[in-house]
């Protein structure tokens, strides 16, 4: 029973969605949009599980003092810091920050102390007492400080200057530099893999070289716009043929896999026990 119901659900909802595609009527659209809303909401609820997993792994490292455990504090700091910023905002235009930063510090320390209370084996009472002190401090600040306040039901927190600074000066530089590392990796991958070991590797190498030469001004001066024409032809003829075949294959693969799942032929994705 426990094991059968999920597969029945998969079949019912899957089959419905297949037929829904062919029914343009309003009522079928309504169900469709409603179900897609479900997916979004379930996904957001599941994020709690994700954050829990992230915390567990970090705490486990700290608790067992595994290699590099010290960096796990940075994860905690970033995670809780950003969450606190995202749910608080300054009243007025934010010209006065009041005791905002001390509050954030107290709240973060309180969280760290609570965590240590949970994971430590000795000294539990010391950590608990410290946690109590910091909680008290942050509660007091949030009661008596009028320059900022919590916002849960509206999105003022996203405009919080600290939230934006974290985004602009931590996330953006790191993420775009990570992306930019590709400039180097594409070079090293080309060096390592573009060797004429056999016919297939040679075809790969020659096609890539022709296209790369097209963007090299020195080569263009010698060959004229022949390189540009050749590389455009490569993209619009052999590449188009390759893509078309792959797309058709992928389409059939997706439909076959989805069918196997809806019909209950493939059950490997669902747990047992």
């Amino acid at each position: 029973m426990k094991r059968q119901i999920p597969f029945v659900l998969v079949f019912i909802f899957g089959a419905f969605m297949v037929f829904q595609y062919f029914i343009p009527h309003e009522s079928s659209e309504w169900v469709y949009e409603f179900l897609l809303d479900w997916i979004i909401i379930i996904g957001i609820f599941a994020l709690a599980l994700g954050i829990w997993s992230l915390l567990r792994v970090s705490l486990d490292k700290i608790k067992n003092k595994k290699e590099n455990y010290i960096y796990s504090y940075l994860i905690l700091f970033g995670l809780f810091g950003e969450i606190i910023f995202g749910f608080t905002a300054f009243n007025g235009n934010g010209e006065s920050w009041g005791f905002y930063l001390p509050f954030v510090a107290c709240a973060l320390l309180a969280i760290i102390m609570i965590i240590h209370t949970i994971i430590s084996t000795g000294k539990k009472t010391t950590f608990a007492a410290l946690a109590g002190v910091f909680i008290l401090l942050s509660v007091l600040i949030s009661i008596f400080d009028n320059s900022w306040s919590f916002h849960f039901s509206s999105a003022e927190g996203v405009q919080n200057p600290m939230f934006r600074s974290f985004f602009d000066h931590i996330l953006i530089p790191v993420l775009s530099t990570m992306f930019a590392l590709l400039a180097f990796f594409i070079a090293s991958a080309a060096y390592r893999a573009f060797r004429a070991r056999n016919l297939l590797a040679t075809l790969l190498l020659v096609a890539a070289l022709i296209v790369m030469m097209r963007f090299n001004p020195w080569v263009a001066v010698i060959y004229g716009d022949y390189g540009a024409k050749l590389s455009n032809w490569l993209m619009n003829v052999p590449n188009l043929a390759a893509q078309r075949a792959i797309v058709i294959g992928i389409g059939l693969g997706i439909v076959a896999t989805a069918l196997k799942i809806i019909l209950g032929i493939e059950r490997g994705y669902m747990g047992k026990g």
Binding site: V18, F22, I23, P24, H25, E26, S27, E29, I39, I42, G43, A46, L47, A48, L49, G50, S53, L54, R56, V57, D60, N68, S154, L171, V174, L175, S176, M178, F179, L181, L182, F185, A189, A190, R192, A193, L204, I246, V247, G249, I250, L252, G253, I254, V255, A256, T257, A258, L259, K260, I261, L263, I265, E266, G268, Y269, M270, G271, K272, G273
Partner: protein, 464 residues
Amino acid sequence: MKLKTVIFICLLLLATISVSAQEGAEIVPETDTTEQMPPPAPISLLTAVDTDNDNGHSVTLTWELSPDDRQGAKSVMSYEIFRWVPLMRDTVEQVRSELANTGQELEVGDPTGEIKEKRNRLRDEYEGLLSRYSDAYGQYPNNGVWKSVGVSPSGSTTFADKGSKEREAFDYLPDYCDFYYQVFAVTSDAGIRTGSEIFGPVHSYGQWFNTGRIPIFVAVLFFSFLTIYFVQRAKKGDDLYVRPLAGIEAVDDAIGRATEMGKPILYVLGLGTASDVATIASFTILGRVAKKVAEYQTALIVPTYDPIVMTVAQEVVKSAYIDAGRPDDFKEDTVHFVTQSQFAYVAAVNGTMLRELPATNIYMGKFFAESLLLAETGAVAGSIQIAGTDEIAQIPFFIVACDYTLIGEELYAASAYLGREPVLLGSLKAQDWAKAALVILGIAGLVAANLGWTDFTDLFHVIN
């Protein structure tokens, strides 16, 4: 493409409605203009029908061009379409905008519950008005005015008067109401115009089957039949041959290698969510890999990008350990969540690779720009790498940087290959037959196209 065109023309129409609503554009009286220029000839044969294959709330008009379209001094520059609307429209619009305002007020805050109450009252009033609204359309030509619903450029002979299906939207167009239309040919001087004969009444309503999608329907039915047929044959014990795939055979060796070296295996499910079929296919592969890993007692690391993917992957790995008879060896943190940001995830996985030095990295699922970042770092760490993705743009990078790559649909075949269950191999057979059918249809269609038999090729044309 056609659907897009229709949608965007309709959006344009909405914009014009809003503009004309502000200006309160009514039909310009056709006097005094004759002394400057004679009015253009009107359009002819105006017809309006419900738009086909949609959810209703839309009427399609067609007409024959005015003889003055784009020629001569009284050249027609555009056609303006008018629909007759009851006078009640202003009341309806007023209540609707008040209702919309309360929605905005609610977002600011509603400490006393007053706004909420007002909103409910307005909503009831609005619903009542709407039900009388459709009756008012029936009173044509009394108690109503002509209202511009859109402009179509010269040379066009069709226009879709499409409204919203949302009852509280400003352009809500009710179904099953009597609509009357008139189209004006307009010259460069907006005052000089000629109206057509009035057409009506016409209803809009939703359909229960989209005939434009029949080719897809047939294809799905045909393919489902093939799959079920071959799976049944496989169940009966037919021997099904599949040719070997290098990437799949490598998986077994790679797990063995990891065991020998005493190093872990890193399995990356990619950036897909659990709603991507590529990721679901990857789950089943993960299941097979995890089972072997459990048998060999090697370590497995599965960092995930999406919390639902993490949950499903945990289930999959856990049951693989149970299948292998080692439920106690399963640790929940084997599958862990990292973060939902693409490059932050890559940063973390890259760090893991250089710290844990896995013997084997397996990438299966949806990958985007990070494919090469992962694969090159994996190569630095000296791992054997096996990749499979259906993101066409990323396949070249995997081919270049990995030892084995499953191209496109081979990813979907992989779970059948790894499991070697006859039932799953049956579906591969179905895929092959479908491909053969496509090749034959493609050749036949091309021959038909060269001979100009568009009737045949149109059979395969999907109209949205």
